[in-house]
Symmetry: C2
Subunit: 260 residues, 2 copies
DNA sequence: TATTAACTTTGATTCAGATCAATCAGAGTA
DNA sequence: TACTCTGATTGATCTGAATCAAAGTTAATA
């Protein structure tokens, strides 16, 4: 545990090249553990790490199926995922629901709640997970003391906006199979960044949840899986996915016939 | 000109109640003009206004059809819209395009570019517009001096994330007519917040651009307009829209028969 | 003002994905 | 071991939106 993984949506990376600081001097308590992920490559000195450590101290476990936070509740803290896998979803009064994201180690949850100080979506663990709670007021306070942290935080928020835009592109202009290909490639890349196989992984979510995220019905998701398997691009065994030909999968995503 | 409008996605409003500061002492140069929108209700003192004023000094005009910024170019500044109307859109190598938003007075553009310091989308004026350029590095610098400004900036970024999530909900789970209803209600509210009629306005964008934003083809958009007109909910005369029954329009948006 | 180009509407047809339905597989649980 | 429940697959059918096509309208420009 506590290995310094390369992560994509965390407070950790400004850019990948800055990834080599020696932090072996940090005691490996669990709080500090996530701290390493949070502050590592921002280039903090010991004193700054100490300051940040006082903020990011509270750890929390979320069992599979439980809420990390719920829409409508007061916002206090951001959550940095230490381990596990969660989904976020918004839902309307009329019961309409939309999965807005799947989140894994190193990613930061709760950004949407900053504006109104009330959570606007639910975060639910898809497997037993661990998060570090980061009281937001305190984070803002120390941002003033540690400008590089502030800068990094801004980048994380911005990255979330970019991600959302690419989901909008997907939902607005891709066909079912293209959406699934895009989804698998995204997961693949994120697993790979964390040191796991990019071509062999287990899905944590159901077909229905994938469908919600991709704007498709579960049957359509299932059919798209089968289609990709028939073409020998992937191998599907329930939740276990193997990517046999990642290039062809990329082509599946890209070559829209409808270049409207 | 330079009237202090109530705006939704700007540096101005923390919440609507804070809207009554006397800023008549500020000289009404055009830069300061946008400044009033930018800093007003964050509760800054004169000295702080001065500091901010030095940052938000450069004004820029964008003629209809011109780019404010283009995907791929280096990011330097955020842009606060002083007047006019713009669209932002992302496009893939394969020509796929997606309008990610329509933006009006008081809104802030360029947030997506903070993460990579390169613009990830195009911003194009749909009518002659004026923006204030805000060098981002400087904004971050003065955020350290003026914490309430930083806090406000975080809320703006967060609000953009919330907005994107609601577009994802729209694209992922609404039918054509519901999407259009939702779109019109959103415009209506935003015009209304700026002191314009909520029930009578002119669209700045084409059916095709609406379609791109809503994940529909232009013909479908046109048909949805006609349908709403046939039901006497709205009156459509090309780009001129009148909402005759805003409640029924709300129902159109909400009562999905497909509560899956 | 005439001419052209861009945009909008409407109709006919097609098709991708939703819906309905049945079966199957796997994970718990009694 | 059987039983139940949830989730996945596959087939048949239906439907909303895309596509194709043809006018009609508006705005831009000479």
């Amino acid at each position: 545990m506590c290995k310094p993984l390369p992560l994509e949506n965390n407070l950790l990376h400004d850019n990948p090249q800055q990834n080599h600081l020696d932090v072996t001097h940090i005691k490996s308590s669990c709080a500090t553990c996530s701290l390493r992920e949070l502050c590592l490559p921002v280039g903090l000195n010991n004193q700054e790490i100490q300051i940040l450590g006082d903020v990011v101290s509270h750890k929390r476990k979320v069992r599979r199926g439980d809420y990390l936070h719920q829409s409508g509740l007061k916002f206090q803290s951001l959550f940095a995922i230490r381990s596990g896998f969660l989904k976020t979803c918004v839902l309307e009064e009329d019961g309409r629901q939309q999965v807005t994201g799947f989140h894994m180690t190193g990613e930061l949850l709760g950004l949407d709640a900053i504006s109104s100080e009330i959570h606007t979506c639910d975060a639910i663990a898809l497997e037993d997970s661990e998060v570090c709670e980061i009281p937001f007021t305190k984070l803002e306070e120390i941002s003033i003391i540690i400008p590089s942290l502030m800068r990094h935080f801004h980048k994380i928020m911005s990255r979330e906006i970019v991600r959302d835009h690419s989901v909008m592109l997907l939902l607005g202009s891709m066909k079912a199979e293209e959406r699934l290909a895009s989804f698998l490639l995204n997961l693949s890349r994120r697993f790979s960044m964390r040191g796991y196989s990019e071509s062999d992984f287990n899905l944590r979510m159901t077909r229905e949840e994938i469908g919600s995220y991709l704007g498709l019905k579960l049957e359509t998701v299932s059919r798209a899986f089968s289609k990709l398997q028939d073409e020998n691009i992937i191998t599907v065994d329930n939740k276990h996915i193997q990517i046999n030909d990642i290039n062809r999968l990329r082509i599946k995503m890209g070559n829209s016939s409808c270049i409207t």
